[in-house]
Amino acid sequence: MLAIKNLTASVDGKEILRGLDLQVKAGEVHAIMGPNGSGKSTLAHILAGRDGYSVTGGEVRYLGEDLLQLEVEERAQQGVFLAMQYPVELPGVNNMSFLRESINAIRRARGEAEIDTLSFMKQVKEKARQVKLDEKLLKRSVNAGFSGGEKKRNEILQMAMLEPKLAILDETDSGLDIDALRTVADGVNRLRTTERGMIVVTHYQRLLDYIQPDKVHVLANGRIVRSGGKDLALELEARGYGWLLEEVAA
């Protein structure tokens, strides 16, 4: 589904990604871990198409296409979803209308009919309940005045409604208490299917207690320096990143 080959990228002339390789197949959940500043969020942003990054080499194929050639909205329309670390507040933009407009923009781009009001309302209510997002927040402006936890639940709600093919979660666990973490993880687990690929970017192992990844990668200095199973995450939790970075350097 996603094949990243030898990707290099820089921000303001500073090289952040230095030859990154990653393969995600449909149905797999990949965790990307790593110390601060290792390039985790840069990777997530580049996949979603955010400005401010120059890709200097390598390629990203998504469902056989050159992902980097697509506009931000085209990526979304073709099934890429980024749950953001810092969801943006949009005062005056109604949460529910936005969600519906988003679904319809994606449907239109795929040549599908717009969602009918009744099934939209049913779905949004059911899914808001699943991620324990207060229904009142659906009627408010997107993320405006939401708590950190509410913003993350809202991201997961969007993800559930938009049903992406490739979901990227950028530090979705940051700033969450244990209950919120569990709810968010449940939301993610509910979306695990054999067709959907997921990349979970996280600094801590904690989230991986609830979302069991198929593969764990350690990103350091702009490269994947080690890949393994869930055990790798536990080892990092126990020993930190230092030993691994030393081993890689040696």
Partner: protein
């Protein structure tokens, strides 16, 4: 060539005998006095603080002349297209500044609605005395010129304790026959004790090319415990000039809520003067302006707290695109005796281009010590992160920008309350957010 002051004087004098007046010479005298005052004042220039950021040169160069006398049957072939679907209880239609009775609807019971011309023709003393009593002759020449030369307008008088159960509407439609003309009108709104009403005013044009000058003075008097919700949408032709002076006087426990939108015209200025005459009155003013290439929108507020325990709140927001320009000058004065006053003033601007320009000047002048007052102003741009966020959810960039513009103005737009008006404004914002050229003007229906 720009006409001189005496050209204006002669132009106004020539028509004066055809203007509405009562049987005596009383109104003629007042018109002549106003003309003298105009002659003394002249037109404002940029040395005057109130006109520092807004030039009248372009307006004067046009040399607008008085409207042609036309019969009603000549007019308003297009009126039907502009009548709203609002569930109004009464409607007054003016085409090129002239009252069109056949398209107007008079409300029933407890409210008197007529053209000012008709009210003056019957020698209605209350109306005659009220005309000009709140506006005075003004400081900038325009108000005096309006009093000297106005042709018609509306009189709305809501009787004591009458509460209208739907809005009244005044539609100002300009046709292509307005080209080169000035259209001076005056409204008189008298809200008697305990009365309650909603008034919707719309300024629309049959086309976007006509160049005319809509010049309006509105006098609004609210007696004790009266309340008026006043919504105004200015969507003149893109080549038109628009000047409105609103004078509002409130007695004890009266409430005025004005919601304004300035969207059309190449040059528009709205001056709102709010006088609290007795304690415990309340005034709210909300406004939005959208300007694009070659457009100027100017709002001047003068909220005067000279008596105790009154409150006012003003919130104006602007969206500026292309080489659009805006001026916001909000003055709140709190006099020595106006203890327990509350006044809040806010102006925010969203700049969609580097060429757009805004001059914003909120001012508080406070002489009393026991008051709660605040003011704030901001000038910003669309947030790239917000655009990215919306695009990452499948919306294209144009729609993302439009949605953010709508969001920015949403609190003001919502104050227009009626779905038809809200949709009209949102459609216009959709356009402003986009990068396409304007193809047609919006109509409501």
């Amino acid at each position: 060539m720009t006409p001189s002051l005496s050209d204006y004087k002669i132009g106004t004098l020539q028509g004066i005998e055809t203007l509405p007046m009562n049987s005596g010479d009383w109104m003629v005298d007042r018109r002549l006095a106003a003309l003298e005052r105009f002659e003394a004042l002249g037109f404002p220039n940029r040395h005057s603080e109130a006109w520092r950021y807004t030039s009248v040169e372009g307006l004067l160069k046009q040399g607008f002349i008085a409207p042609a006398k036309t019969s009603q049957s000549d007019q308003g072939d297009g009126i039907q297209n502009h009548l709203s679907q609002l569930a109004t209880v009464g409607r007054l239609v003016f085409v090129d500044g002239q009252f069109i009775e056949e398209h107007s609807e008079y409300p029933s019971g407890g409210v008197r609605v007529s053209s000012l011309k008709a009210a003056m023709a019957t020698g209605d003393r209350q109306v005659l005395q009220a005309v000009g009593s709140l506006s005075g002759l003004g400081e900038d020449g325009f108000a005096a010129l309006n009093l000297a030369g106005f042709h018609d307008g509306a009189v709305i008088q809501v009787a004591q304790d009458v509460r209208l159960d739907g809005p009244l509407e005044i539609l100002h439609l300009s046709s292509s026959r307005a080209e080169g003309r000035k259209l001076p009108t005056r409204h008189l709104i008298l809200m008697e004790r305990g009365s309650q009403a909603e008034l919707i005013e719309r300024f629309v044009s049959e086309d976007q090319q006509s160049c005319y000058f809509n010049h309006q003075v509105v006098e609004i008097s609210l007696a004790e415990q009266a309340s008026l919700s006043h919504k105004r949408i200015q969507m003149e032709s893109r080549q038109a000039y628009h000047l409105s002076d609103l004078h509002i006087a409130l007695q004890s426990k009266a409430a005025y809520h004005g919601v304004m939108a300035a969207i059309g015209g190449c040059w528009s200025r709205t001056f709102i003067s709010n006088r609290f005459q007795q304690p415990d009155a309340h005034c709210e003013l909300d406004g939005l302006y959208l300007v694009d290439d070659g457009q100027l929108a100017d709002f001047h507020l003068d909220v005067d707290h000279q008596v105790a325990s009154c409150s006012s709140r003003e919130n104006f927001k602007g969206l500026l695109r292309g080489s659009g320009r805006a001026v916001f000058d909000g003055l709140i004065q709190v006099g020595k005796g106006a203890q327990k006053s509350e006044a809040h003033l806010h102006n925010a601007n969203l700049m969609l281009s580097r060429q757009a320009e805004v001059d914003t000047k909120p001012q508080l002048m406070i002489l009393a010590d026991d008051v709660v007052c605040s003011h704030g102003t901001s000038v910003g741009q669309l947030d790239d992160q917000a655009i990215f966020y919306l695009r990452s959810r499948g919306l294209d960039e144009q729609r993302a920008r439009a949605l953010l513009c709508q969001g920015f103005l949403a609190d003001i737009v919502d104050k227009f309350e009626h779905q038809a008006l809200i949709e009209l404004l949102n459609r216009r914002m959709n356009f402003v957010g986009s990068t396409e050229q304007e193809t047609s003007h919006e109509s409501l229906g």
